[in-house]
Protein backbone atom coordinates (compact mmCIF):
# COMPACT_ATOMS: atom_id res chain seq x y z
CA UNK A 1 0.00 0.00 0.00
CA UNK A 2 2.68 2.41 1.03
CA UNK A 3 4.66 4.24 -1.59
CA UNK A 4 7.20 5.21 1.00
CA UNK A 5 10.76 4.55 -0.04
CA UNK A 6 13.04 4.08 2.94
CA UNK A 7 16.22 4.48 0.91
CA UNK A 8 16.53 6.37 -2.35
CA UNK A 9 18.92 5.70 -5.19
CA UNK A 10 21.56 7.84 -3.56
CA UNK A 11 21.44 5.64 -0.45
CA UNK A 12 19.78 8.41 1.54
CA UNK A 13 16.78 8.07 3.81
CA UNK A 14 13.54 9.99 3.54
CA UNK A 15 14.84 12.75 5.79
CA UNK A 16 18.17 12.92 3.97
CA UNK A 17 20.19 10.92 6.46
CA UNK A 18 22.66 8.22 5.60
CA UNK A 19 21.64 4.77 6.87
CA UNK A 20 23.78 4.84 10.01
CA UNK A 21 23.37 8.52 10.75
CA UNK A 22 21.51 9.47 13.92
CA UNK A 23 19.01 12.29 14.08
CA UNK A 24 20.12 15.46 15.78
CA UNK A 25 20.33 14.69 19.47
CA UNK A 26 20.00 17.33 22.12
CA UNK A 27 19.53 17.13 25.84
CA UNK A 28 19.15 19.51 28.71
CA UNK A 29 19.46 18.84 32.42
CA UNK A 30 17.51 20.29 35.36
CA UNK A 31 14.61 21.38 33.21
CA UNK A 32 12.28 21.13 36.21
CA UNK A 33 13.95 22.72 39.23
CA UNK A 34 11.21 21.48 41.53
CA UNK A 35 12.15 17.85 40.85
CA UNK A 36 15.20 16.20 42.39
CA UNK A 37 16.47 15.62 38.90
CA UNK A 38 15.10 16.23 35.45
CA UNK A 39 16.13 16.09 31.85
CA UNK A 40 14.69 16.74 28.44
CA UNK A 41 15.86 14.79 25.42
CA UNK A 42 15.21 15.25 21.71
CA UNK A 43 15.94 12.80 18.94
CA UNK A 44 14.93 14.77 15.89
CA UNK A 45 11.27 15.62 16.38
CA UNK A 46 10.76 13.21 19.25
CA UNK A 47 10.91 15.01 22.55
CA UNK A 48 10.65 13.46 25.97
CA UNK A 49 11.09 14.91 29.44
CA UNK A 50 11.76 12.92 32.59
CA UNK A 51 11.49 14.09 36.19
CA UNK A 52 12.91 12.13 39.09
CA UNK A 53 11.72 12.45 42.68
CA UNK A 54 13.54 10.67 45.42
CA UNK A 55 14.74 8.52 46.85
CA UNK A 56 12.07 9.66 49.27
CA UNK A 57 9.64 8.41 51.88
CA UNK A 58 7.28 5.96 50.20
CA UNK A 59 3.72 7.20 49.82
CA UNK A 60 2.28 3.74 49.81
CA UNK A 61 3.91 1.87 52.63
CA UNK A 62 2.44 -1.49 51.72
CA UNK A 63 4.46 -1.50 48.52
CA UNK A 64 7.84 -0.74 50.05
CA UNK A 65 10.61 -3.28 50.08
CA UNK A 66 12.67 -3.95 53.15
CA UNK A 67 15.98 -4.23 51.34
CA UNK A 68 15.80 -1.74 48.49
CA UNK A 69 14.03 1.25 47.01
CA UNK A 70 10.92 0.87 44.94
CA UNK A 71 11.06 2.38 41.45
CA UNK A 72 7.79 3.79 40.14
CA UNK A 73 7.32 4.97 36.60
CA UNK A 74 4.47 7.15 35.39
CA UNK A 75 4.19 7.89 31.73
CA UNK A 76 2.15 10.61 30.17
CA UNK A 77 1.82 11.15 26.47
CA UNK A 78 0.71 14.66 25.54
CA UNK A 79 -2.49 14.50 23.49
CA UNK A 80 -0.79 16.35 20.66
CA UNK A 81 2.33 14.16 20.64
CA UNK A 82 1.39 11.90 17.75
CA UNK A 83 -0.12 12.61 14.38
CA UNK A 84 -3.63 12.03 15.56
CA UNK A 85 -4.85 13.70 18.73
CA UNK A 86 -5.28 11.07 21.32
CA UNK A 87 -6.05 11.29 24.95
CA UNK A 88 -4.66 8.28 26.64
CA UNK A 89 -6.27 6.89 29.67
CA UNK A 90 -4.42 5.63 32.71
CA UNK A 91 -4.99 1.99 31.92
CA UNK A 92 -3.73 2.18 28.34
CA UNK A 93 -1.90 -1.10 27.81
CA UNK A 94 0.79 0.28 25.55
CA UNK A 95 1.66 3.01 28.00
CA UNK A 96 1.61 0.53 30.86
CA UNK A 97 3.91 -1.79 28.95
CA UNK A 98 6.25 1.08 28.17
CA UNK A 99 6.36 2.04 31.83
CA UNK A 100 7.01 -1.56 32.85
CA UNK A 101 9.90 -1.83 30.38
CA UNK A 102 11.53 1.37 31.63
CA UNK A 103 11.10 0.21 35.20
CA UNK A 104 12.66 -3.18 34.57
CA UNK A 105 15.50 -1.50 32.69
CA UNK A 106 16.47 0.81 35.52
CA UNK A 107 15.78 -1.36 38.55
CA UNK A 108 19.01 -3.36 38.21
CA UNK A 109 21.05 -0.28 37.22
CA UNK A 110 20.07 2.03 40.06
CA UNK A 111 21.76 1.06 43.31
CA UNK A 112 18.40 0.63 44.99
CA UNK A 113 19.80 -1.37 47.89
CA UNK A 114 21.32 1.84 49.28
CA UNK A 115 17.83 3.12 50.02
CA UNK A 116 15.74 0.45 51.71
CA UNK A 117 12.03 1.17 52.09
CA UNK A 118 12.26 4.36 50.00
CA UNK A 119 10.80 5.03 46.63
CA UNK A 120 12.08 6.68 43.50
CA UNK A 121 9.38 8.17 41.31
CA UNK A 122 10.10 8.81 37.70
CA UNK A 123 7.60 10.76 35.61
CA UNK A 124 8.06 10.62 31.88
CA UNK A 125 6.34 13.11 29.58
CA UNK A 126 6.22 12.48 25.92
CA UNK A 127 5.87 15.92 24.39
CA UNK A 128 6.39 15.02 20.75
CA UNK A 129 6.56 11.71 19.01
CA UNK A 130 8.23 10.86 15.74
CA UNK A 131 9.45 7.33 16.35
CA UNK A 132 11.81 6.09 19.01
CA UNK A 133 9.51 6.46 22.02
CA UNK A 134 11.30 3.78 24.00
CA UNK A 135 14.79 5.05 23.25
CA UNK A 136 13.93 8.65 24.07
CA UNK A 137 12.16 7.60 27.27
CA UNK A 138 15.14 5.55 28.44
CA UNK A 139 17.71 8.19 27.54
CA UNK A 140 15.75 10.95 29.26
CA UNK A 141 15.35 8.79 32.35
CA UNK A 142 19.09 8.05 32.48
CA UNK A 143 19.91 11.74 32.35
CA UNK A 144 17.28 12.68 34.91
CA UNK A 145 18.63 10.05 37.31
CA UNK A 146 22.18 11.33 36.83
CA UNK A 147 20.89 14.84 37.42
CA UNK A 148 19.19 13.74 40.64
CA UNK A 149 22.47 12.33 41.95
CA UNK A 150 21.04 8.83 42.27
CA UNK A 151 23.84 6.25 42.18
CA UNK A 152 23.83 4.02 39.11
CA UNK A 153 26.12 1.29 37.88
CA UNK A 154 26.31 2.85 34.45
CA UNK A 155 24.50 4.99 31.93
CA UNK A 156 21.75 3.27 30.03
CA UNK A 157 21.65 4.43 26.44
CA UNK A 158 19.08 3.29 23.98
CA UNK A 159 18.69 3.36 20.23
CA UNK A 160 16.47 1.86 17.55
CA UNK A 161 17.60 0.22 14.34
CA UNK A 162 15.80 -1.07 11.28
CA UNK A 163 16.53 -3.08 8.21
CA UNK A 164 15.64 -2.29 4.62
CA UNK A 165 16.50 -5.25 2.40
CA UNK A 166 20.06 -5.77 3.55
CA UNK A 167 20.83 -2.27 4.73
CA UNK A 168 20.66 -1.61 8.45
CA UNK A 169 19.74 1.89 9.54
CA UNK A 170 19.77 3.58 12.91
CA UNK A 171 17.42 5.88 14.86
CA UNK A 172 14.17 5.42 12.98
CA UNK A 173 11.49 8.02 12.44
CA UNK A 174 7.83 7.19 12.80
CA UNK A 175 7.50 6.63 9.08
CA UNK A 176 10.42 4.21 9.04
CA UNK A 177 9.24 2.45 12.19
CA UNK A 178 5.88 1.67 10.66
CA UNK A 179 7.40 0.35 7.47
CA UNK A 180 10.52 -1.58 8.40
CA UNK A 181 11.41 -4.42 10.73
CA UNK A 182 12.97 -2.68 13.67
CA UNK A 183 14.51 -3.32 17.05
CA UNK A 184 15.15 -1.06 20.04
CA UNK A 185 18.04 -1.88 22.32
CA UNK A 186 19.31 -0.37 25.55
CA UNK A 187 22.93 -0.94 26.49
CA UNK A 188 25.17 -0.46 29.48
CA UNK A 189 28.06 1.10 27.61
CA UNK A 190 30.87 0.23 30.02
CA UNK A 191 30.30 -3.50 29.93
CA UNK A 192 28.83 -3.44 26.44
CA UNK A 193 25.98 -5.59 27.68
CA UNK A 194 22.41 -5.24 26.55
CA UNK A 195 19.64 -4.72 29.06
CA UNK A 196 16.68 -4.22 26.77
CA UNK A 197 15.85 -5.68 23.39
CA UNK A 198 12.46 -5.09 21.91
CA UNK A 199 11.48 -6.25 18.47
CA UNK A 200 7.90 -6.56 17.33
CA UNK A 201 8.25 -7.10 13.63
CA UNK A 202 8.88 -10.26 11.63
CA UNK A 203 12.46 -10.87 10.62
CA UNK A 204 14.46 -13.95 9.72
CA UNK A 205 16.87 -15.05 12.40
CA UNK A 206 19.84 -14.74 10.06
CA UNK A 207 19.15 -11.07 9.37
CA UNK A 208 18.71 -10.11 13.00
CA UNK A 209 22.29 -10.14 14.18
CA UNK A 210 23.69 -7.31 12.07
CA UNK A 211 20.87 -4.91 12.90
CA UNK A 212 21.01 -5.83 16.58
CA UNK A 213 24.76 -5.33 16.88
CA UNK A 214 24.67 -2.03 15.01
CA UNK A 215 21.99 -0.74 17.34
CA UNK A 216 24.20 -1.67 20.28
CA UNK A 217 27.19 0.12 18.76
CA UNK A 218 25.02 3.17 18.11
CA UNK A 219 23.86 3.08 21.71
CA UNK A 220 27.44 3.30 22.89
CA UNK A 221 28.06 6.31 20.65
CA UNK A 222 24.98 7.96 22.08
CA UNK A 223 26.37 7.50 25.57
CA UNK A 224 29.22 9.83 24.58
CA UNK A 225 26.71 12.48 23.52
CA UNK A 226 24.78 12.13 26.75
CA UNK A 227 27.93 12.27 28.82
CA UNK A 228 28.98 15.50 27.11
CA UNK A 229 25.80 17.16 28.29
CA UNK A 230 26.24 15.81 31.81
CA UNK A 231 29.86 16.96 32.04
CA UNK A 232 29.02 20.39 30.77
CA UNK A 233 26.39 20.74 33.46
CA UNK A 234 28.62 19.27 36.18
CA UNK A 235 31.42 21.64 35.21
CA UNK A 236 29.16 24.65 35.49
CA UNK A 237 27.80 23.53 38.85
CA UNK A 238 31.24 22.74 40.19
CA UNK A 239 32.60 26.16 39.21
CA UNK A 240 29.64 27.98 40.66
CA UNK A 241 30.03 26.16 43.90
CA UNK A 242 33.68 26.90 44.16
CA UNK A 243 32.57 30.51 44.37
CA UNK A 244 35.00 33.43 43.99
CA UNK A 245 38.01 31.59 42.57
CA UNK A 246 36.92 31.08 38.98
CA UNK A 247 34.59 34.01 38.57
CA UNK A 248 35.43 35.04 35.03
CA UNK A 249 35.20 31.62 33.48
CA UNK A 250 32.14 31.06 35.55
CA UNK A 251 30.31 33.85 33.81
CA UNK A 252 31.29 32.57 30.43
CA UNK A 253 29.91 29.19 31.27
CA UNK A 254 26.59 30.52 32.40
CA UNK A 255 26.31 32.57 29.25
CA UNK A 256 26.64 29.42 27.23
CA UNK A 257 23.66 27.94 28.94
Amino acid sequence: MSRFEPLNAGNLRSDGRRPLELRSFSAELTTHPSADGSASVSHGLTQVTACVYGPREAKNRAQTMHDRALVNIEVEVAPWAGEVRRQRTKGDRRTAEFAASVKATFEPVIQTTLYPRSEIDIHIHVLQLDGGLLQAGINATTLALVDAGIPMLDYVSSLSAGLYHTTAMLDLTNLEESDLPSVTVAVLPRSGKVTLVSMETRLHVDRFEEMFKLAMEGGKVLRGEMDKVVRERTKVLARQMEGGAAQDEDRMETDDL
Partner: protein, 299 residues
Protein backbone atom coordinates in the same frame (compact mmCIF):
# COMPACT_ATOMS: atom_id res chain seq x y z
CA UNK B 1 -2.56 -5.52 45.86
CA UNK B 2 -1.32 -8.55 47.72
CA UNK B 3 2.23 -9.19 46.74
CA UNK B 4 3.31 -12.75 46.37
CA UNK B 5 5.46 -13.72 49.32
CA UNK B 6 9.02 -13.67 48.09
CA UNK B 7 10.81 -17.01 48.05
CA UNK B 8 12.86 -17.74 51.15
CA UNK B 9 16.60 -17.13 51.30
CA UNK B 10 17.10 -20.90 51.56
CA UNK B 11 15.27 -21.51 48.31
CA UNK B 12 17.11 -18.70 46.58
CA UNK B 13 20.54 -19.81 47.73
CA UNK B 14 19.86 -23.42 46.91
CA UNK B 15 18.56 -22.75 43.41
CA UNK B 16 21.44 -20.39 42.70
CA UNK B 17 24.09 -22.82 43.88
CA UNK B 18 22.41 -25.68 42.00
CA UNK B 19 22.29 -23.75 38.74
CA UNK B 20 26.00 -23.03 39.14
CA UNK B 21 26.44 -26.81 38.93
CA UNK B 22 24.03 -26.97 36.01
CA UNK B 23 21.26 -28.48 38.14
CA UNK B 24 17.62 -27.52 38.58
CA UNK B 25 15.41 -28.68 41.43
CA UNK B 26 13.03 -30.52 39.15
CA UNK B 27 15.93 -32.51 37.69
CA UNK B 28 16.11 -30.66 34.37
CA UNK B 29 19.21 -29.21 32.75
CA UNK B 30 19.21 -25.42 32.23
CA UNK B 31 18.09 -25.46 28.61
CA UNK B 32 15.61 -28.30 28.95
CA UNK B 33 11.88 -27.70 28.83
CA UNK B 34 9.25 -29.55 30.80
CA UNK B 35 6.88 -32.01 29.21
CA UNK B 36 4.42 -30.26 26.97
CA UNK B 37 1.03 -31.76 26.22
CA UNK B 38 -1.89 -30.63 24.14
CA UNK B 39 -5.43 -31.84 24.68
CA UNK B 40 -8.32 -30.98 22.40
CA UNK B 41 -11.84 -30.58 23.64
CA UNK B 42 -15.04 -31.80 22.06
CA UNK B 43 -15.76 -28.54 20.35
CA UNK B 44 -13.48 -27.26 17.64
CA UNK B 45 -11.18 -24.55 18.86
CA UNK B 46 -11.06 -25.66 22.49
CA UNK B 47 -7.53 -26.55 23.52
CA UNK B 48 -5.87 -27.21 26.80
CA UNK B 49 -2.12 -26.95 26.83
CA UNK B 50 0.13 -27.82 29.70
CA UNK B 51 3.84 -27.38 30.26
CA UNK B 52 4.72 -29.29 33.38
CA UNK B 53 2.03 -28.34 35.90
CA UNK B 54 1.25 -25.04 34.18
CA UNK B 55 -2.09 -25.26 32.43
CA UNK B 56 -3.84 -22.94 30.02
CA UNK B 57 -7.06 -23.26 28.06
CA UNK B 58 -7.61 -21.42 24.80
CA UNK B 59 -10.97 -21.21 23.13
CA UNK B 60 -12.18 -19.64 19.94
CA UNK B 61 -15.57 -18.45 18.86
CA UNK B 62 -16.53 -16.75 15.65
CA UNK B 63 -19.32 -14.33 14.87
CA UNK B 64 -20.23 -12.26 11.87
CA UNK B 65 -19.93 -8.51 12.37
CA UNK B 66 -19.29 -5.27 10.56
CA UNK B 67 -15.59 -4.59 10.02
CA UNK B 68 -13.68 -1.75 11.59
CA UNK B 69 -14.25 1.43 9.68
CA UNK B 70 -10.61 1.92 8.80
CA UNK B 71 -10.05 -1.70 7.77
CA UNK B 72 -13.09 -2.62 5.71
CA UNK B 73 -11.51 -5.65 4.07
CA UNK B 74 -10.20 -7.38 7.14
CA UNK B 75 -11.70 -9.63 9.75
CA UNK B 76 -11.29 -8.89 13.42
CA UNK B 77 -9.50 -10.88 16.04
CA UNK B 78 -10.06 -10.14 19.67
CA UNK B 79 -7.66 -11.63 22.18
CA UNK B 80 -8.94 -11.86 25.68
CA UNK B 81 -6.73 -13.05 28.51
CA UNK B 82 -8.24 -14.01 31.81
CA UNK B 83 -6.02 -14.02 34.82
CA UNK B 84 -7.79 -15.34 37.81
CA UNK B 85 -6.79 -16.13 41.35
CA UNK B 86 -7.31 -19.74 40.30
CA UNK B 87 -3.95 -19.81 38.50
CA UNK B 88 -2.04 -18.39 41.41
CA UNK B 89 -2.91 -16.45 44.50
CA UNK B 90 -0.69 -13.68 43.13
CA UNK B 91 -3.34 -12.80 40.56
CA UNK B 92 -6.29 -10.74 41.41
CA UNK B 93 -9.32 -9.79 39.45
CA UNK B 94 -9.50 -6.12 38.68
CA UNK B 95 -6.62 -3.96 37.64
CA UNK B 96 -4.02 -6.10 35.89
CA UNK B 97 -0.46 -6.14 37.17
CA UNK B 98 2.57 -5.15 35.15
CA UNK B 99 3.43 -8.79 34.62
CA UNK B 100 -0.02 -9.54 33.26
CA UNK B 101 0.02 -6.58 30.91
CA UNK B 102 3.42 -7.53 29.58
CA UNK B 103 2.23 -11.05 28.96
CA UNK B 104 -0.97 -9.97 27.24
CA UNK B 105 0.99 -7.57 25.07
CA UNK B 106 3.46 -10.23 23.95
CA UNK B 107 0.59 -12.56 23.04
CA UNK B 108 -1.03 -9.79 21.11
CA UNK B 109 2.18 -8.98 19.25
CA UNK B 110 2.90 -12.64 18.56
CA UNK B 111 -0.54 -13.49 17.26
CA UNK B 112 -1.92 -10.28 15.86
CA UNK B 113 1.00 -8.04 14.96
CA UNK B 114 2.98 -10.80 13.32
CA UNK B 115 -0.03 -11.45 11.07
CA UNK B 116 -0.23 -15.07 12.08
CA UNK B 117 -3.79 -15.06 10.91
CA UNK B 118 -4.82 -14.04 7.42
CA UNK B 119 -7.25 -11.35 8.39
CA UNK B 120 -8.27 -10.61 4.83
CA UNK B 121 -9.44 -14.20 4.53
CA UNK B 122 -11.88 -13.45 7.33
CA UNK B 123 -13.65 -10.92 5.16
CA UNK B 124 -16.95 -12.23 3.90
CA UNK B 125 -18.38 -9.35 1.94
CA UNK B 126 -16.67 -6.08 1.20
CA UNK B 127 -19.71 -4.46 -0.37
CA UNK B 128 -20.89 -1.04 0.58
CA UNK B 129 -24.62 -1.47 0.76
CA UNK B 130 -26.23 -2.69 3.86
CA UNK B 131 -29.45 -4.58 4.21
CA UNK B 132 -30.92 -6.47 7.07
CA UNK B 133 -29.75 -10.09 7.16
CA UNK B 134 -32.60 -12.50 6.99
CA UNK B 135 -32.92 -16.04 8.22
CA UNK B 136 -34.06 -19.29 6.73
CA UNK B 137 -34.16 -22.57 8.52
CA UNK B 138 -30.54 -23.47 8.86
CA UNK B 139 -28.93 -21.31 6.27
CA UNK B 140 -28.16 -17.75 7.04
CA UNK B 141 -27.90 -15.19 4.34
CA UNK B 142 -25.83 -12.18 5.05
CA UNK B 143 -25.62 -9.07 3.01
CA UNK B 144 -23.60 -5.92 3.17
CA UNK B 145 -20.17 -5.42 4.58
CA UNK B 146 -19.53 -8.41 6.77
CA UNK B 147 -16.47 -10.03 8.27
CA UNK B 148 -15.70 -12.73 10.77
CA UNK B 149 -14.80 -11.65 14.25
CA UNK B 150 -12.77 -14.25 16.05
CA UNK B 151 -12.68 -14.17 19.78
CA UNK B 152 -9.72 -15.92 21.31
CA UNK B 153 -10.16 -16.41 25.03
CA UNK B 154 -7.18 -17.56 27.01
CA UNK B 155 -7.77 -18.80 30.51
CA UNK B 156 -4.97 -19.51 32.91
CA UNK B 157 -5.78 -22.51 35.06
CA UNK B 158 -2.55 -23.11 36.92
CA UNK B 159 0.62 -21.10 37.07
CA UNK B 160 3.69 -23.16 37.80
CA UNK B 161 5.86 -20.89 35.70
CA UNK B 162 6.15 -19.95 32.04
CA UNK B 163 2.50 -19.16 31.50
CA UNK B 164 3.32 -17.22 28.39
CA UNK B 165 4.82 -20.06 26.34
CA UNK B 166 1.95 -22.27 27.40
CA UNK B 167 -0.65 -19.65 26.50
CA UNK B 168 0.88 -19.01 23.11
CA UNK B 169 1.02 -22.72 22.33
CA UNK B 170 -2.62 -23.11 23.39
CA UNK B 171 -3.66 -20.11 21.32
CA UNK B 172 -1.94 -21.29 18.14
CA UNK B 173 -3.29 -24.80 18.63
CA UNK B 174 -6.78 -23.40 19.05
CA UNK B 175 -6.46 -21.28 15.91
CA UNK B 176 -5.39 -24.32 13.93
CA UNK B 177 -8.03 -26.55 15.47
CA UNK B 178 -10.90 -24.19 14.95
CA UNK B 179 -13.24 -24.49 12.00
CA UNK B 180 -15.53 -21.71 10.87
CA UNK B 181 -18.78 -22.35 9.02
CA UNK B 182 -18.43 -22.28 5.30
CA UNK B 183 -19.75 -19.28 3.47
CA UNK B 184 -20.61 -19.00 -0.17
CA UNK B 185 -20.70 -15.62 -1.82
CA UNK B 186 -22.80 -14.95 -4.86
CA UNK B 187 -22.78 -11.37 -5.99
CA UNK B 188 -23.28 -9.30 -2.93
CA UNK B 189 -25.06 -12.01 -1.06
CA UNK B 190 -23.37 -14.50 1.18
CA UNK B 191 -24.82 -17.77 2.35
CA UNK B 192 -23.58 -19.35 5.52
CA UNK B 193 -23.93 -23.09 5.88
CA UNK B 194 -24.54 -24.91 9.07
CA UNK B 195 -22.04 -27.65 9.98
CA UNK B 196 -24.63 -30.26 9.02
CA UNK B 197 -24.84 -28.99 5.49
CA UNK B 198 -21.24 -28.36 4.70
CA UNK B 199 -18.09 -29.13 6.61
CA UNK B 200 -16.73 -26.10 8.38
CA UNK B 201 -13.41 -24.81 7.07
CA UNK B 202 -10.17 -24.15 8.89
CA UNK B 203 -8.77 -20.64 9.33
CA UNK B 204 -6.14 -19.39 6.94
CA UNK B 205 -2.88 -19.01 8.83
CA UNK B 206 0.19 -17.31 7.43
CA UNK B 207 2.53 -18.92 9.87
CA UNK B 208 2.64 -20.37 13.32
CA UNK B 209 4.64 -18.33 15.83
CA UNK B 210 5.36 -19.81 19.26
CA UNK B 211 6.94 -18.25 22.33
CA UNK B 212 10.06 -19.46 24.08
CA UNK B 213 10.98 -17.81 27.36
CA UNK B 214 14.26 -17.77 29.22
CA UNK B 215 15.24 -16.37 32.58
CA UNK B 216 18.67 -15.45 33.90
CA UNK B 217 19.37 -17.22 37.13
CA UNK B 218 22.10 -17.25 39.75
CA UNK B 219 25.30 -15.28 40.23
CA UNK B 220 26.44 -15.88 36.66
CA UNK B 221 23.04 -15.20 35.17
CA UNK B 222 22.84 -18.64 33.65
CA UNK B 223 20.18 -18.74 30.94
CA UNK B 224 17.39 -21.13 31.88
CA UNK B 225 14.66 -22.22 29.52
CA UNK B 226 11.03 -22.80 30.48
CA UNK B 227 11.34 -21.46 34.03
CA UNK B 228 9.25 -22.79 36.89
CA UNK B 229 7.29 -20.35 39.03
CA UNK B 230 10.02 -20.32 41.66
CA UNK B 231 12.71 -19.74 39.04
CA UNK B 232 10.69 -16.88 37.58
CA UNK B 233 10.38 -15.26 40.99
CA UNK B 234 14.12 -15.52 41.60
CA UNK B 235 15.20 -14.52 38.09
CA UNK B 236 17.30 -11.45 37.44
CA UNK B 237 15.83 -11.02 34.03
CA UNK B 238 13.49 -12.56 31.52
CA UNK B 239 13.57 -12.80 27.76
CA UNK B 240 10.89 -14.06 25.43
CA UNK B 241 11.38 -14.90 21.79
CA UNK B 242 8.49 -15.65 19.46
CA UNK B 243 9.47 -17.54 16.37
CA UNK B 244 7.87 -19.57 13.64
CA UNK B 245 9.12 -22.77 12.08
CA UNK B 246 10.54 -20.77 9.17
CA UNK B 247 13.05 -19.29 11.60
CA UNK B 248 11.48 -15.87 11.53
CA UNK B 249 11.57 -13.91 14.77
CA UNK B 250 8.20 -12.29 15.40
CA UNK B 251 8.78 -10.83 18.84
CA UNK B 252 11.96 -10.54 20.79
CA UNK B 253 11.41 -8.99 24.13
CA UNK B 254 13.89 -8.51 26.86
CA UNK B 255 12.41 -5.66 28.81
CA UNK B 256 15.17 -4.69 31.15
CA UNK B 257 16.39 -6.96 33.90
CA UNK B 258 20.00 -8.00 34.15
CA UNK B 259 22.21 -6.95 31.24
CA UNK B 260 23.54 -9.70 29.00
CA UNK B 261 26.34 -9.85 26.44
CA UNK B 262 25.04 -9.60 22.88
CA UNK B 263 26.24 -13.10 22.10
CA UNK B 264 24.14 -14.56 24.87
CA UNK B 265 21.04 -13.00 23.33
CA UNK B 266 21.98 -14.42 19.95
CA UNK B 267 22.66 -17.81 21.50
CA UNK B 268 19.24 -17.79 23.14
CA UNK B 269 17.70 -17.02 19.76
CA UNK B 270 19.37 -20.10 18.32
CA UNK B 271 18.24 -22.28 21.19
CA UNK B 272 14.72 -20.94 20.69
CA UNK B 273 14.83 -21.90 17.02
CA UNK B 274 15.24 -25.57 17.83
CA UNK B 275 12.76 -25.45 20.68
CA UNK B 276 10.16 -23.93 18.37
CA UNK B 277 10.87 -26.65 15.84
CA UNK B 278 10.12 -29.28 18.48
CA UNK B 279 7.02 -27.47 19.68
CA UNK B 280 5.73 -27.04 16.13
CA UNK B 281 6.27 -30.75 15.48
CA UNK B 282 4.38 -31.61 18.63
CA UNK B 283 1.57 -29.28 17.68
CA UNK B 284 1.33 -30.68 14.16
CA UNK B 285 1.40 -34.24 15.45
CA UNK B 286 -1.27 -33.60 18.06
CA UNK B 287 -3.52 -31.95 15.48
CA UNK B 288 -3.13 -34.87 13.13
CA UNK B 289 -3.98 -37.35 15.84
CA UNK B 290 -6.99 -35.36 16.81
CA UNK B 291 -8.28 -35.08 13.26
CA UNK B 292 -8.07 -38.84 12.89
CA UNK B 293 -10.36 -39.32 15.88
CA UNK B 294 -12.79 -36.71 14.66
CA UNK B 295 -15.42 -37.65 12.11
CA UNK B 296 -16.47 -34.68 10.15
CA UNK B 297 -19.70 -35.24 8.38
CA UNK B 298 -19.69 -34.17 4.81
CA UNK B 299 -22.78 -34.41 2.75
Amino acid sequence: MPRDVEPSINQRDFIFSAIQQGLRVDGRSPLQARKTTIRFGNSLGWVECSIGETRVVAQISATVTRPYFDRPFEGIIVIHTEFSPMASSAYETGRPSEEEITMARILEKTIRRSEALDREALCILAGQKVSVPHRETNTKIVRGQQVWTLRLTIQFLADEGNLLDCACMAAMAALRHFRKPEVEVVGDEATMFSPEERAPVPLALHHQPLCVSFVSLGPRNTPVMDPSRLEEQLAHGKMTISLNAQKEICVLQKAGGVALPADEVLHAVNVAVSRVRDMSDLLNRSLEEDSRTRVIEVR
